[in-house]
């Protein structure tokens, strides 16, 4: 166990954890934009910066990447931290003035108007890289990446051209914090209709399901689709459900089974309605014992 302090409060974590992970476990709030618990930390948005005032590397450091050290003293809302977040949010808002998520976060730090002129007000991407890391690390399709540098930096497939390597899973759209990624599905993309609208690949089919637990639709699930595509070479794509399930109940190796049951009677119950059987006098309900 590693002991250190956050905002003068003693906290503990395991060797190898980051400041952010320990803070989140201790319910200490630190804003993030480019962080996702299932992805490797990136340190680009600078929202999660904290001030290291003793031990370690002094100054503003990104808590999502900084490995905890014994005796570290960290402040999450020092003047330097607040100023940094405020100014960076101002810069970000000036880049993407019409993104609600950024507007909201900026407002928390006192910014209601973009402080700088905007070149392209329709821009929604904040270059957080979540889509890139999702496609690379979880889906393992390796379709998305950054190209160009500086203010020309952008996200997209190679040469910004459509590629068959994209499996149309839509994971990039799901993780994007600003709604910058739009998944447009083409003809042979797999898409599943659901009565109540689209949902994830692991879902409880209906309220009447027996047993009433989630199942994986292997036609849609990224892991199964990647295994099909690569003849098993892409091992262990995604697996987010298994990582997140605290009961450890997800088993990807389950196969369909045919069960043979020995029963006395099969009742086909297509539905029911409560009704008083006394009314059907020909069946002597209430008069004969076994009815």
């Amino acid at each position: 166990m590693v002991t250190f302090t956050i905002d003068k409060q003693e906290v503990q974590g395991e060797e190898g954890q980051t400041i952010l992970e320990v803070a989140q476990e201790a319910k200490i709030e630190i804003p993030t934009l480019c962080y996702h618990k299932l992805l490797s930390p990136y340190g680009a948005c600078r929202m999660c910066v904290v001030e290291v005032v003793a031990g370690g590397r002094p100054g503003l450091q990104t808590s999502c990447t900084y490995p905890i050290e014994e005796g570290l003293e960290v402040l999450t809302r020092s003047p330097a931290v607040i100023e940094a977040r405020r100014v960076v949010l101002g810069l970000m808002l000036s880049r993407t003035p019409n993104v609600e998520a950024i507007q909201n976060l900026a407002r928390e730090y006192g910014i209601t108007e973009p402080p700088f002129p905007t070149d392209t007000p329709e821009e929604r991407c904040i270059l957080c890289g979540q889509c890139v890391r999702t496609c690379d690390e979880l889906v393992k399709a390796h379709v998305l990446n950054f190209s160009e540098r500086g203010i020309e930096r952008r996200v997209g497939p190679p040469f910004l051209e459509k590629t068959r390597l994209c499996i149309g899973c839509g994971a990039c759209s799901i993780v994007c914090p600003t709604g910058a990624v739009e998944t447009v599905l083409e003809q042979d993309a797999v898409y599943r209709e659901k009565p109540l609208g689209p949902t994830s690949a692991i879902w409880v089919p209906s309220l009447q399901a027996v047993p009433r637990v989630p199942v994986i639709d292997t036609d849609v699930c990224i892991r199964f689709r990647q295994n099909d595509r690569s003849a098993g070479e892409i091992a262990d794509a995604c697996g987010a459900c298994q990582i997140l399930c605290e009961a450890g109940a997800v088993d990807f190796t389950q196969q369909d089974e045919v069960l043979e049951l020995d029963v006395g009677a099969i009742i086909v119950a297509t539905g029911f309605e409560m009704w008083d059987p006394h009314k059907l006098t020909q069946y002597s309900y209430g008069k004969s014992p076994n009815i």
């Binding site: 340190g43 680009a44 948005c45 600078r46 910066v49 370690g56 590397r57 100054g59 503003l60 450091q61 990104t62 990447t65 900084y66 490995p67 330097a80 100023e83 940094a84 100014v87 960076v88 810069l91 970000m92 000036s94 880049r95 402080p115 700088f116 002129p117 904040i126 270059l127 990446n145 950054f146 160009e148 540098r149 500086g150 203010i151 020309e152 930096r153």
Partner: protein, 602 residues
Amino acid sequence: MSTSNVEQYRADVLVCTCPACTKTGAPEMEQALKSEVERRNLADEVHVIETGSRGFCSMGPIVIIQPEGILYCQVGAADVPELVEETLVKGRVVERLAYKEPETHKAVPYYDEIPFYGKQMRLVLRNCGLINPQNIEEYIAVGGYQALAKALTSMTSEEIIEEVKKSGLRGRGGAGFPTGRKWEFARNAPGDVKYIVANGDEGDPGAFMDRSLMEGDPHAILEGMTIGAYAIGAHEGYIYVRDEYPLALRNLGAAIEQAREYGLLGQDILSSGFDFDVKITRGAGAFVCGEETALMASIEGRAGNPRPRPPFPAQSGLWGKPTNINNAKTWANVPLIIDRGADWFSQIGTETSKGTMIFSLVGKVNNTGLVEVPMGITLRELIFEVGGGIQNGKQFKAVQTGGPSGGCIPASLLDLPVDYEHLKEVGSIMGSGGMIVMDEGACMVDVSRYFLDFLKEESCGKCTPCREGIRQMLAILTRITEGEGEMADLEQLETLAHVVKDASLCGLGQTAPNPVLSTLRYFRDEYVAHIEDKRCPAGVCRALIEYTILEDACTGCGLCRRKCPQEAISGGKKEVHVIDQEKCIQCGVCFDVCKFDAVVVR
């Protein structure tokens, strides 16, 4: 490859083959030398040798004649017959080819007496311009690889690290982290696979220290790396060289091959049982790849984007393994320390900054070139004694140290001793050793704008403060230089500068605001003049200057009128000429050509 024959000749004629001298005719001159030597049957007595740069770059092509120690400047093919006749045959000095002192115009033919060299302490650059870098035997003849032999046969890894720690050597790439401690972290990191890396990216525009070393004495770097690898426990090394240095790539490549042939690299080096080999990785044109984590990403074949530290490369570097990365100049210091000892090394320099530093002294000084001086020398000594003072008798205004992210230091601080701490205190950095001298003709607002523009282009764009912050600072500065600035802009500029400095992910963003912050600190009045008076005191910012012709000085020669690209000047023969301000684009040609100083800039 020729065999060692450094003793057979009675004279060595050393010709610099660096890119600068090559551009000014060194190859033709060398050809002429060789032909003339042949023609006069001196080929057995006089040896013409190609060397790296001796640093006196404004005076190239340079020829040095040993053992006399004569240095000739700006030698052309046409000068060769006289040179051979007078110096090589008759043993006399050709005064017209010697260096002339700027004030007295006195000829100083002997290398040791030239002030440019007199104040220098050429240790790391000891062999540059002295040996043929493409011949390992010359390196060995001047004592090369002795340090490696000593390290491998009589020192343990711990002893080597202790010696480097004791010497006080600090990283010469810019950050100045104590090298011995850095090696120790890598040594102590768990794991069997470790790497060492030499940073030869040298992205600072105009910097050519690492280049001269890689071109002129590649073995010094290799030897240092091998010693370091042994100390740390690494068996593989990488030298990252920017692709814009073809001669450095060629000479390093040849040096590596020769070292392998001689058993000084590869398996079982000097029969010690220690294996170590080196690969060269070429850069692809990005300044940010000089940053250590971006450089490692580049070696791994990924885009050169930095990542936050910690974890530091010593814990997790190339492919996640402990890696020690040092600048090429730092590696070149190591053989000296092992050879002559930490005690000797720590006598040079100041309390906190030991050893020498190589600076590229450029800009408005008389003697531009590479200089190696002990840490602690003052800016005044560097610029006025070694540098020979300001060109054309102008006034010193500022010196920018450390590269494009360095701060600008004013005349009031000329007595500042140059070392890591002092430079930091005044708002600048040591960086890789850039030293750009500016005179009264430099506009400090424009200087900040110029470097921010460079940094904007080179930013990798990963983190918001650097990518967006630099862009916005540049926009503000541009408006100020165009006469559209307001006082509120200065406040916003400073706020941005501080956050970009504190919150950026890597050194590029963290140091980018230095030019702005230092010029605001020392030259604030210039900013105010641009904003409130809409005036550029130095006469640089086009939108704010006006060229006019002085009535009493103009002779009506008509030269300016003929040269003006906009036909903006009018006037008859022998009549006072006038500039039409509507048509004038402030190109400055009239100012340059007027022989009567009749054109003024306001």
